[in-house]
Structures are given as C-alpha cells and as structure tokens.
C-alpha cells in the first residue's frame, strides 16, 4: 500500500479514515467556512429551511467585501443580511473598514491553517492552499449544508505535482510562473485534480507569490492547489494564530497522477491576452499594445510584494497621460502597511487612485468598470469577455510590475525596463 499526497492525507483525516484513494467519495468535516455577501440571498434562506443553529459559529467567517462600501441597494441589502445573520448566530464577522478581499482576510487573520479543510463561497478559495490547507470553492446552497452539518461530500481528487525549477530571474514573479503553467496546460489542464507545487522556484518564492500560484489553480480546473509549509509559512502563521499547526506533507511514495516539470529559471515576464487566461505569451510579444486602465489589486496580486514593486517602478515616474491607474490593497491590513511604508504616497503622487480593499474592477460591478473598446492591464486572474464591464472591452493579465510599467508608458511594457537589479 503506497503513501498518500498531502491533499489525500488531509481528506483522510477529515473523513476519519486511515487512507483515501482518488475517485473515492468521502464526507469530510469542515474546519473553516468563508461566506461572501454576494451569496446571502441563496445561502441564508437555504440554511433556514434545514436548521436553526450553526454547527460551530467560531469556524464560520463572514467577510463583507466584494463591493464595498455598498454601491447600490442590492449590495446594501445583501450586506445587511450578512451582518444580521452573523450577529444572530455569533459568527466571525469582518465588516467594512476591518475587512479586505475575503481570501486575504482568511489567511492574514489565521482562519486558514495547514492540514485543515477550508471551504468558501468563492471560486478563488483555493488560494489558502499556499499555507498547506485543503481549500476549495463551493456553491452557496452547499454552504447552507455546511453551516447546518459542518460536513460536505467530496470526490478525492487525483493529485498532480507541478515542479517549478528556478529560481526565477529578477523582475519575474509567481504570477509570471503560474501564467506560464496555465498557458502550457490549458483551462482544463488539471480538471478535478489536486495540484501540489514544489521545486526550487517555489521554495525561493515569497508567501505572497505562492498565494498567487494556488489562487490561479482554479484556471486549470483544479479542485485545490497546495504547497508544503516551510519556515516562511510557519512564521507567517505563528504571527496569526495560537492554534497548533498540523503540517501535512506528501509521502515520498505517494501516487501522482502526473508529475509536470517546468524550468522557469529563464522565464520572461508573462501576460495572458484576451479572452482567456490560457492565451499566454511573454510581455515582450504584447509590448506596445495601448492600454486605457491599469489595475493593481485583487486576490491574485494586491499584496505587499505587488505594491512594493509598483512603488519601485513609480518612484520618480508618472502614470501616462492617456492611461489611468487603479490600486486596491487586498486588505485593510495591507492598506495600512502600504501607508506606513510610504507606498501609497508614491502611487498617489504618480497619478494613481487608491480604492477601498475589495474585489474592485475584477468583478466589473462597482469600481473601474470598462467601456466598450477599452483595454485594461490587470494583476487579477480572469480575463473572460466582459468580465470587467462592456463585452467589447479587453483584459490583459500580468504581474503587478507589468501593470505598473504599462501604466507608465500607456502601453504594455516589460517591468524590467524600470526595475533596478530585480523586483
């Protein structure tokens, strides 16, 4: 009997089994659940049909965040319902001014821990796997079942190992690496599978960049992404929780459905052109494409590493007169830190605008919506047609550095043009 991958071990533990195999259907105990306000109208009435009390209020986290502060009556109503439900049942609530993008809040407030099963009503919930948890997105009604029972059915995914050989060269970050992987493997490159990242490039990467890797596994169709915790992970977590850390590692004799290796040591900055995250090329190949809007933010790349790189590029430079720059720190905590480090001052003086930590242009609803014919370069993870507004607008995806450099020139630009000795 062979060993198990980290994903299999976590699911075995959560379902009270000594061993699980890919394809098997299990019922897993949920360790933490994250709810967004967008789903209030579905999740709460469904819950009220089946139960009166939440299985474990301290394990349920409500984050008011997709569109904040509320921009219309619908947003206001769904947020009010979320607050009322959270207060009635004693759930953990992060409200406007104390929140941020749900995934960032889950990680920085210590709700997503290694070795645990975490679910959220948003497809990018897979981000938390960067800290060694089994994390995945679920539907809004499924969340009602989780609130009532603290359990959910899962099919144990086949595990795929993606090895990134590095280190990355200066000016190239996790976003470039994962765009390259998605470009190579395609939108169903890991359909229903669990993707574990390893290799020297991952080891050398900041946690911020690792979160970008696991954030984007959903673009491969994967069920979850996971990275084995190391010293960096443990020190990040120890600042955020007093709970014991259950570090789960894949066995050396674990069965991998596939092992895919990429040499990313010579990788150039990458970009995904409209209208698919798989339409990947080097930034140089798209260089010169005129842009109207540049967006740095989102759960993919609105973290300190991203903001620091942007500030480095904008120090002494301005946003191009024919372009506009929108910056949204991924959380209030990051917003405050960026203020303390003087980053916001640099970005403001360059002509950028800074908005409340939230999804922003990435949901195409309340901030930075695109008009027909407009082109946006964005540090986010989805560039499907119409994602940010008009169906005839275009979205390019790149790293925060690529977005910043493109904002300076008003056209798609390799960030290394402006970075001294690397990002």
């Amino acid at each position: 009997m062979g060993g198990m991958t980290a994903t299999e071990k976590i699911l075995a533990q959560a379902s009270g089994r000594s061993k699980v195999v890919p394809g098997e259907i299990i019922t897993a105990d949920i360790d933490a659940a994250m709810l967004i306000h967008v789903m209030s109208d579905i999740t709460f009435p469904a819950f009220e049909q089946i139960a009166t009390r939440v299985w474990d209020p301290s394990s349920v986290v409500c984050v008011v965040e997709h569109c904040i502060p509320a921009h219309n009556v619908w947003a206001a109503e769904t947020q009010r319902r979320q607050r009322e439900f959270a207060k009635k049942h004693g759930l953990v609530l992060y409200d406007v001014g104390r929140s941020g993008i749900c995934h960032q809040v889950m990680m920085e407030k210590g709700h997503a821990l290694p070795g645990t099963v975490v679910v959220g009503t948003d497809s990018d919930s897979c981000t938390y796997g960067a800290l060694g948890s089994f994390a995945t997105g679920i539907g809004a009604t499924e969340m009602a079942a989780v609130l009532a029972e603290g359990q959910l059915w899962f099919r144990v995914p086949p595990s795929v190992q993606v090895i990134l050989r590095g280190p990355l060269s200066p000016g190239v970050v996790g976003k470039d690496a994962i765009l390259h992987v998605i470009g190579q493997l395609g939108l169903d490159g890991a359909l229903y599978e669990g993707v574990e990242f390893s290799g020297s490039a991952v080891e050398a990467m900041s946690l911020d960049s690792r979160m970008t890797l696991t954030n984007m596994v959903e673009m491969l169709g994967a069920k979850n992404g996971i990275i084995e915790p190391d010293e960096k992970t443990i020190s990040y977590l120890q600042e955020r929780t007093d709970r014991p850390l259950d570090i789960v590692r894949s066995d050396s004799d674990a069965h991998w459905e596939r092992i895919i290796e990429f040499d990313v040591s010579k990788l150039d900055p990458q970009i995904a052109a409209p209208h698919s995250p798989t339409n990947v090329m080097s930034v140089r190949e798209a260089a010169g494409t005129r842009i109207h809007q540049a967006f740095i933010g989102g759960c993919t790349n609105g973290r300190m590493e991203d903001l620091r790189t942007a500030a480095e590029i904008f120090r002494g430079r301005k946003v191009h007169p024919d372009a506009r720059l929108i910056v949204i720190p991924a959380s209030q905590q990051i917003y405050a830190q960026a203020m303390d480090e003087g980053i916001l001052r640099v970005l403001l003086k360059a002509g950028g605008t800074i908005c409340t930590p939230s999804c922003g242009p990435c949901v195409g609803i309340d901030k930075g919506v695109l008009a027909s014919g407009e082109v946006c370069i964005s540090s986010t993870n989805k560039n499907y047609r119409g994602r940010m507004g008009h169906p005839d607008s275009l979205i390019y995806l790149g790293s925060a550095g690529t977005v910043a450099a493109s904002a300076v020139n008003g056209q798609i630009t390799d960030p290394r043009e402006f970075l001294q000795g690397g990002a």
Binding site: I50, E142, L191, R387
Partner: protein, 174 residues
C-alpha cells in the same frame, strides 16, 4: 420518472459562467425569473426567448468554468433546461447543478453526435441518451451517490430535509 425529452442547445468548450450568467445580473438580482431572462445572453441572445421547458443543454469540455456562482445553473434551470450534458465539467458548476437538482451528465463524445436543435431523450438515472432522429444511443457516466440521490430528491436542501424526515421534503416525491 427519470426520463426527459427535449431539444438540444449546443455550445463549445470552456463555456464559462460569465457567458451563462453575466456578473452584472448576478450582482443586481437573485430572482430566478430575472436570471433566466439573461441566461446565455452574452453568447446567445436568442436563448432566453426560444428555450422551452425540458430542453437540454449540450456543451464541450470544461463546461461551466469561471466563477463558483450558483446563479449560473439556476439561470439555466429557471429558463427551462432539464439536463446539462457535457464532454466534461468544471467542478464547482457540476456541484452546483447537482445542488439545485439540475442533472449534469458527463458524456465524452456527445458534441460530435449532436447538432443544435436535435431532439434527445435522456434517462437521468442510468445516463442513457437517445438521439431521436438517428436512433443512435450514447451512454453518459451514471451519477454516483450522493449526487444521484440529491438530484432525484430535487436538490440538496430537499435531500437534507428528506434525510431529516421532514414532511415538506416527502411532498416533493421521488
């Protein structure tokens, strides 16, 4: 009664949730009838006016990719779609279909056999599909438990009510 007959609406690979249910609708209403009126609008503006109750949506690989919005299958179900058949499914869309009681059947090879407007007969329980014009038979992967029970109970909430012995669920009937 697990058999259904309807016309096929055929789409390609990587049909995404922004195409099935645009975000601007999702974030302005939760009313199923309103969702239905905008279903498929970005890629097929005629869909919502021409779809008939009992029609069948056929898609290629990775159907329902994109976001985890449950409103996407809800928009299809509210518009009248009785079954979704695809070469393969994006996982959250698949789960959401099951959760709301919309059968989702994986059937490799379906796209090559079905043209837009063809009539199909589908047995949700066994996964048997009959192409009525040609008489050809196709076999989809049968739904496994607990997905099959959830679908037959009319969705996850009814399934849980039934498990908990609620009379409201019993009225739904299998």
């Amino acid at each position: 009664m697990t058999c259904t007959t309807g016309r096929a609406w055929v789409y390609g690979d990587h049909l995404d949730t922004d195409e099935i249910c645009p975000a601007e609708i999702l974030l302005s209403t939760s009313d199923p009838a309103e969702l239905a009126r905008h279903a498929m609008a970005p890629i097929d503006p005629e869909f919502s006016t021409k779809v008939q109750p009992g029609d069948i949506l056929v898609a290629g690989r990775n159907a329902g990719c994109g976001s985890s919005r449950e409103q996407a299958p809800l928009a299809l179900k509210s518009a009248g779609i009785a079954v979704v058949i695809a070469e393969s499914f994006a996982r959250v869309f698949y789960r959401n279909c099951i959760t709301i009681g919309l059968p989702a059947l994986r059937c490799p090879g379906i796209r090559a056999k079905v043209t837009n407007g063809d009539t199909l007969q589908v047995d949700v329980q066994t996964g048997r599909i009959r192409h009525l014009a040609s008489g050809d038979a196709l076999q989809a992967e049968a739904l496994e438990e607990p997905a099959l029970s959830i679908v037959l109970d009319g969705g996850l909430i009814n399934h849980l009510l039934r498990k908990r012995g609620s009379p409201a669920a019993a009225a739904h009937g299998r």
